[in-house]
């Protein structure tokens, strides 16, 4: 049940989301709600070819259309040294194509006109003559010697972007050789798209008189965007004001900088008028960043009695035409090295080769700390294959191999120090809720009747909260985050953070953290994010990092405010500071609870009645550099029934037990879990950004890229265990991405469990009905 925002001691309570009052009334202010006087509209001309030489661009008909103000091509940008821009992954990307195009729907020209419709009309009048080139769709082919080199700008010429490895190759191979059992599986995590409800867009508003650029943008990381923009454009950073208004979902899609943004800024500077660019759904799905697209090969070794001995992983990562991932600098494959998961592997080795193909650039961390979903999917699928080989129940295999609670902090063979966890407790809770033994008995009975029922288990470990400055940066900027708290004379608080929520509920949850520390209610605290002129610098909201970083900053800043407040309270209570007690809501003299002052009285005194020599005001600003990442975990159990006639999979039950440490708002956490599970369900059963042999995108709209509705979404059953992070100020770990990271394997494992009696050990997701039907047909057991 939701509680009012006026509830005292709000931490851990299901406080109603403060932002919903405006969002559910349609009174949010999203990017496309903003209209500035004199605003023009930008539309992009895109390539129909996946790989082609540009022979000629004729913009004369477009320019001649009345109401058209500007047409930009790659050559125009090249003259300003802006034809290419850096990606957050350290690669570079064409803003508008120069010489050739490298993926279908690549940006080729930009048209600015009086209205959006007119801009689209004019874009259709730009004539581009192409000479098609051989297309590379398959990343394995891209690495063959005869494959055409896609990126002529690279030296040495190669379609390999990077090779990255971690762990001890020799020890791992030796351990595998000595293992009684070795299971090998090829597992693909297909290309998907975050597909937020609101697509990406911006308004660039350059004022010639002041030389100031105001840039409204759908951004998960407004401060980072401002810095990147300043470095790329040469505009002084203090004259760039980035405003990320209400954002309608991000899921990693709104971390990178896109060509449309750069074009709008160039156009606004050139024309001295505001220029809006908002992508269409097709543009979003086909050009602004995809996620995943990992081709993985895993070997897992074990003893006869099911103790894991070694893990070896080889991966080809298809990044498309430009490496436009947003991974931290030292991690070209993100945090993929979490791939040993929840299990106590003595040794492990992982390598990833990033590859260019003629596809849209990426891949972003879609609701995932940089490739954690891929890693989690791989290990959770591989553990299932191992269980099959050993003829062990997959839950039992996991219980035998979990890192035990007493081993925390646990140093993984691939270099991470897990903060805390009690994995067996989490799994046992899930097994208890779903009555696992009874399910297995039911399955045996159904199998005897020829029915196809499956039970899938996924016990994932997450790695979030990037990250400590000794390890994490993006383009050199350390991945701390920040919070500034100002308590005004009547005890009301405005807090600003360096993060930018897109639906996560920060306006409520961070208000809860601060209100709890200051003895206030959530109603007393306004949380503001997304305006670089007012908010302190931070790296933004993605990778479930906000609570571990900015959330920690909020708690620490509030404690600093309280420290000063205690001094003022001592003054008001006329006792020594060390004789002042804080009971969670008020200050009182030790042993005399009847006399007390609250934060409102203290705040007023901070501006009116200070102890001698004290600086006025009541505020604090904290930049929080986390000592470590946090490691949430979860145990998901999924039950499916398969229709033998159609191959359709019905998800009968799904129990998700999450452990994200201290819970700030259980209702918000549950909402995050529901959303992420729904995405995981879509990834497992419905979604793929596929391409044909000539590089045509086969899912360029919501008719082909399927987003589940309430009709097909299963009913979620959620619960939690609580193992606080020992190093986070309030013990919170972050939760947003857990369900997306952990659930795809639970769904896949359930389907494969149903088909296991046929000898099936693996099927690639998405598990479309026709794929399942094909298995049934091959075994002659269709209806």
């Amino acid at each position: 049940m939701a509680l009012e925002v006026t509830e005292a001691r709000p931490l851990g309570k299901p406080i109603k989301r403060k932002e919903d009052a405006r969002l559910v009334r349609g009174q949010g202010r999203y990017l496309d709600d903003i209209a500035l006087p004199g605003m023009l509209y930008l539309a992009l001309v895109r390539s129909p070819y996946a790989h082609a030489r540009i022979k000629r661009i004729d913009t004369s008909r477009a320019k001649a259309l009345p109401g058209v103000h500007l047409v930009l091509t790659g050559e125009d940008l090249a003259a300003k040294n802006l034809a290419w821009m850096p990606t957050l992954a350290g690669d570079k990307q064409m803003v508008l194509a120069v010489g050739k195009v490298l993926f279908q729907y690549q940006e080729v020209a930009a048209v600015v006109a009086e209205s959006r419709a007119l801009a689209e009309d004019a874009a259709n009048l730009v004539e581009v003559e192409y000479e098609p080139l051989p297309v590379v769709v398959d990343p394995f082919y891209a690495l063959e010697p005869e494959a055409p080199i896609l990126r002529e700008d690279r030296d040495p010429p190669s379609n390999r972007i990077f090779h990255w490895e971690v762990g001890d190759r020799e020890a791992t191979e030796e351990a595998l050789r000595r293992s009684a059992v070795v299971v090998k599986e090829r597992i693909r995590m297909p290309r998907v798209h975050p597909a937020p409800l609101e697509p990406c867009g911006c308004i660039a508003d350059y004022q010639r008189a002041t030389g100031k650029l105001t840039w409204y943008v759908t951004s998960q990381a407004p401060h980072a965007h401002r810095t990147v923009l300043s470095l790329v454009s040469g505009l002084p950073e203090h004259k760039i004001h980035v405003i990320s208004p209400d954002v309608g979902g991000g899921f990693g899609n709104k971390v990178p900088v896109f060509p449309g943004y750069v074009c709008a800024i160039v156009a606004s500077i050139g024309l001295g008028r505001p220029v809006k660019w908002v992508e269409t759904r097709t543009e979003n799905l086909t050009s602004t960043n995809f996620a995943r697209d990992y081709h993985m090969e895993v070997e897992i070794g074990a003893t006869e009695d099911g103790r894991v001995t070694a893990l070896k992983v080889f991966t080809i990562a298809d990044h498309g035409a430009f490496d436009a991932a947003a991974d931290p600098t030292r991690f070209p494959a993100g945090l993929f090295s979490i791939v040993t998961g929840s299990y106590d592997f003595p040794t492990a080795f992982a390598e990833v080769d990033g590859v260019y193909t003629n596809k849209a650039p990426g891949g972003v961390a879609y609701r995932c700390s940089f490739r954690v979903t891929e890693a989690s999917f791989l290990i959770e699928r591989a553990m299932n294959s191992l269980a099959l080989r050993l003829n062990l129940d997959p839950a039992e295999l996991r219980l035998r191999n979990f890192i035990p609670p007493e081993k925390f902090p646990y140093r993984s063979p691939l270099g991470w120090t897990y903060d805390s966890g009690d994995y067996a407790a989490t799994l046992k809770r899930a097994m208890e809720i779903i009555d696992y033994p009874a399910l297995r008995r039911e399955q045996a009975e159904r199998r005897a009747r020829g029915e196809l029922m499956g039970i899938g288990v996924s016990t994932f470990t997450e790695i979030v909260g990037a990250g400590p400055s000794h390890t994490f940066d993006i383009l050199g900027i350390k991945m701390f985050d920040s919070c500034e708290i100002r308590v005004h004379p009547t005890g009301k608080v405005i807090a600003r953070l360096g993060t930018r929520h897109q639906g996560q509920g920060h306006e409520t949850t961070f208000a809860q953290v601060i209100a709890e520390e200051l003895g206030l209610t959530t109603d007393d605290v306004i949380v503001e994010e997304g305006d670089t002129d007012t908010a302190p610098y931070g790296l933004g909201t993605y990778a479930s990092r906000s609570t571990p970083t900015a959330g920690a900053a909020a708690a620490v800043a509030a404690r600093r405010v309280r420290d000063k407040a205690r001094k003022i309270a001592a003054h008001l209570l006329e006792v020594a500071e060390e004789d002042v007690d804080w009971d969670g809501q008020r200050f009182h003299p030790v042993g005399a609870p009847a006399r007390s002052v609250g934060m409102a009285e203290v705040a007023l005194a901070a501006y009116t009645n200070l102890p001698p020599g004290m600086e006025p005001g009541l505020e604090a600003s904290v930049y929080y550099d986390p000592p470590n990442l946090t490691f949430p975990n979860g145990a998901y159990i999924c039950v499916v029934d398969i229709d033998r006639g159609t191959g359709q999979v019905h998800v009968r039950r799904f129990v998700a037990v999450d452990d994200c440490g201290t819970v700030i708002n259980p209702m918000v956490v549950e909402g995050q879990i529901h959303g992420g599970l729904t995405e995981g369900f879509a990834i497992a059963f419905l979604q793929e950004i596929a391409f044909d042999d000539t590089g045509n995108c086969l899912a360029p709209n919501f008719m082909e890229y399927l987003v589940p509705t309430a009709v097909e979404t299963p009913r979620w059953e959620t619960d939690r265990t609580v193992t606080p992070s020992p190093h986070h100020p309030i013990g919170a770990k972050g939760v947003g991405e857990s369900p997306n990271v952990g659930s795809p394997a639970a769904f896949a494992n359930a389907v494969i469990d149903a088909l296991a009696p046929l000898g099936v050990t693996h099927l690639d997701i998405p598990l479309y009905p026709w794929k399942v039907w094909e298995v049934l047909r091959q075994h002659g057991i269709t209806e």
Binding site: A117, M703, L706, P708, Y768, E774
Partner: protein
């Protein structure tokens, strides 16, 4: 996502519409619900220079029954048919099919006649129209004519309508026996076009024998298909599990699917078999439930 510029004509009569079509030829398109046309225009897959809007033409909306059958006006919405409870007794396939069309928003605007004229092979009404042996009433510069279902669909997005002809109504014949019907659809998510759709309409005599059978198939050919041999195998028979199997196999043979993202041709063909068999089995149970025990 804006259409190319076009001229918009809100005509008041069928004659005025036909005039406009005759004047503009293939540059003109008729719009009723617009649920297929407008998305195509927004994607600029279609760019008619003139839209002729039938929605203000009086007398085109709504359905009436008479001795010959059911007449459904050209601008009658899917939603109106979905909720047409009085049709449940004699035209159950209409009520069985309508809820499967897209989503409620589309059903509130889209029309049966528009869907048939658009001739998307995956459309649900096409299969139902064939199964019911419907006809379209057509008006053109030369007057009116009617086209039977089997002669109406020509190819993908192609019908035997001339460029200056308009469907004014869809006609469905009055059933010869007691009708039982069902529509089965495999969709990837709610609101999706059919991966495979099967419309079954049986008219049963008082002895429980099939007097008339209609089996229409969606999304398994370049146009909506009927399965005549499967239908013929049902005539004069009482439904049984074995007969359903035999008919389902014949219906699967009538399918002519292609492989695509939604599944292989073999898969789609087999879905026809599975759905016809399941559909006939459910109809058998309904028919037997109505029969006195002695029959």
């Amino acid at each position: 996502m804006f259409p190319a510029p076009f001229e918009y004509l809100a005509v008041r009569s069928v004659e005025e519409a036909i005039d406009a079509l005759a004047r503009h030829g293939y540059d003109a398109k008729v719009i009723a619900g617009g649920q297929s046309l407008l998305p195509m225009m927004k994607l600029r897959v279609a760019a008619p220079s003139v839209l002729v809007d039938l929605n203000r033409v009086e007398g085109l909306s709504g359905w009436q029954e008479d001795a010959q059958g059911l007449r459904i006006g050209a601008t009658t919405r899917h939603a109106a048919l979905e909720r047409a409870r009085p049709l449940a007794e004699r035209y159950p396939l209409i009520l069985a099919t309508a809820p499967w069309i897209a989503d409620p928003l589309v059903r509130n605007r889209g029309t049966m006649a528009g869907s048939l004229a658009h001739a998307d092979p995956a459309a649900d009404w096409g299969a139902a129209f064939l199964a019911l042996r419907g006809q379209v009433e057509v008006q053109g510069p030369q007057g009116t004519r009617s086209i039977g279902a089997d002669d109406f669909f020509v190819d993908i997005f192609t019908t035997s309508l001339a460029a200056d002809e308009i469907i004014t109504a869809v006609r469905l014949p009055r059933p010869v026996g007691h009708p039982e019907a069902t529509y089965l659809k495999l969709e990837r998510k709610v609101g999706d076009f059919a991966v495979v759709g099967v419309a079954l309409n049986l008219e049963v005599d008082p002895e429980g024998r099939v007097a008339q059978a209609g089996i229409g198939l969606a999304a398994v050919g370049p146009k909506p298909l009927r399965a005549p041999q499967a239908e013929a195998a049902l005539i004069g028979q009482r439904l049984s599990f074995n007969l359903a199997r035999e008919v389902a196999a014949l219906a699967a043979e009538a399918a002519d699917p292609t492989s695509d993202q939604r599944g292989s041709a073999a898969f789609k063909r087999d879905m026809v078999r599975v759905f016809v068999q399941r559909g006939l089995e459910s109809l058998r149970q309904r028919i037997e439930g109505r029969q006195p025990a002695s029959a």
